[in-house]
Point group: C2
Chain length 303, copies 2
Amino acid sequence: MVSMQDIANKAGVSRVLSNHPSVKAETRQKVLYWVKELDYEPNLIAQSLAGNRTNIIGLLVPEIAYPFFSEIIESIENQAFYEGYSVIICNTHRSLDKEKNILAQLRQRKVDGVIAVPVSTKRSLPSYQRLQVPAVMITKRMDGFSSVYISHYNGGQQIAKHFLNMGFQKIGYIGPTRESTSALKYAGFQQYLSANQIKLTDVIECPAPENMNASLVYKLVKQYAANSGLHCEAYLANDDITACEAITAFHELGYAVPQDIAVAGFDNSLLDQINNNADPCIYELESRVIARESTIRFVSAQP
Amino acid sequence: MVSMQDIANKAGVSRVLSNHPSVKAETRQKVLYWVKELDYEPNLIAQSLAGNRTNIIGLLVPEIAYPFFSEIIESIENQAFYEGYSVIICNTHRSLDKEKNILAQLRQRKVDGVIAVPVSTKRSLPSYQRLQVPAVMITKRMDGFSSVYISHYNGGQQIAKHFLNMGFQKIGYIGPTRESTSALKYAGFQQYLSANQIKLTDVIECPAPENMNASLVYKLVKQYAANSGLHCEAYLANDDITACEAITAFHELGYAVPQDIAVAGFDNSLLDQINNNADPCIYELESRVIARESTIRFVSAQP
DNA sequence: CTGAAAGCGCTAACAC
DNA sequence: GTGTTAGCGCTTTCAG
């Protein structure tokens, strides 16, 4: 292991600040020569300890192999690399306990910052408060922290507006109606329609898929159809996975999408693109554009 | 920042090896008491520098938001966390240059090990050889390194066998026929059939999708159908994304899958599950099982 | 069993 | 401009 000292000796200089401004060109050359000659590489650990900065950020997500999140991970890694940071990827598995452990470990590792999808906006709070590291929340808003998230309420409204513009009269919703962000989306959607004298015809209540394996949506849509029948020209699905599953169910029930039934998703994830080939879900596309343009929010914790 | 020294002072002891076996119970208690009292947490950076071990592993993939890889990432993170390791996620974007940079950075960070999908089994070699860190390759085999990968040749054979068992006579292939792993799969497939007096009827040559956005498969399948027509009862697609796109194209051309045309994918990724609801692609399922059971190889570099 | 001290390789602050 | 030194907070080794 060749250290700074080694190259200092060789170069006959004692100070080796390859990047410090105040060094004579000649000296720098000599240093650089030996750096190359001895194949010197800085030890980032030593640098971190002495410099009190690791150039590492921690990234917490509820799940990695879920398009919505993996796309976020990819973007963050990309920018981080560009800025000279490494990112430690952590999967909370939606467990408060695991989240707490991860945060402790990240703190001990002295990461420079944390980007997180908190497990719960309320109950995760203490863990993030203990963290002595700058943190920004994504996906959800958390009090006291800078947050980047989508306004689901607004998104819901805009899709409602879009549906009305398309001339739809019979409109439905598929997804959770009471869960945090879904509830907001549902509220925005429903209230906008209601302000225009339209009541939701079908509300197919089903839980948000937590991962790509275990989704009840498909089953519940079929069940709803069997029990109550489908009466709508257009449905808003809580998220893209829900939309995919609903479309699948509709197909099997003999409906064409979007000719017979229009479906709007939410998330703008790559899943759309896969499905789009199969069935040009123009409403899906539209909703994506809407969401992209106007509902992303950045809320700074600093006043 | 409370350090070991602080708690040593408080506890009236000088040595604080909380985990070393040879400490009197009483002493340990005293130490533990102050650890809690002062809310002491070890500084992992200092530990890394002195202990010469970081408990970090680097993970290199060509792309993060691609189901096949994001699932691998998730599994690795999972096990790593369990074993007390953190994982730094790195995206090579299939660039030799970027891969080289990443490897240099990882080396300087003194990661304990590296798991990588090498950009190229040949041309990446020097970069990995320079790396002074244990590395294991996944997905592809690389000379001189421990590798975990699928035998594509074997997989191709087994799907061929399966197709024959199903009684198919007219069989086709969709994917690259010359690219490294695909070529092997194609060879295994084709040679097995040929040993059974069956010649491939349709070979729809198309590049492997590099990401979920830019795939030509859909277009090329349609084009092939328009130019030459589709003549097969069953097709093997190079990978799951290719399979998805082909299925989409088949649908639009008026074929039912798997009633009219059977399609086998490769990868066993979650994409199958999404699509399975829509069209029970039993052959896809079968091929997955086949791949899982018998074609995974572990090759150790140490003799 | 426990104390003391010498590094790990670098940064930062202060001299010349 | 350049040299020197004192840490960063821990592990390890060697005494006691």
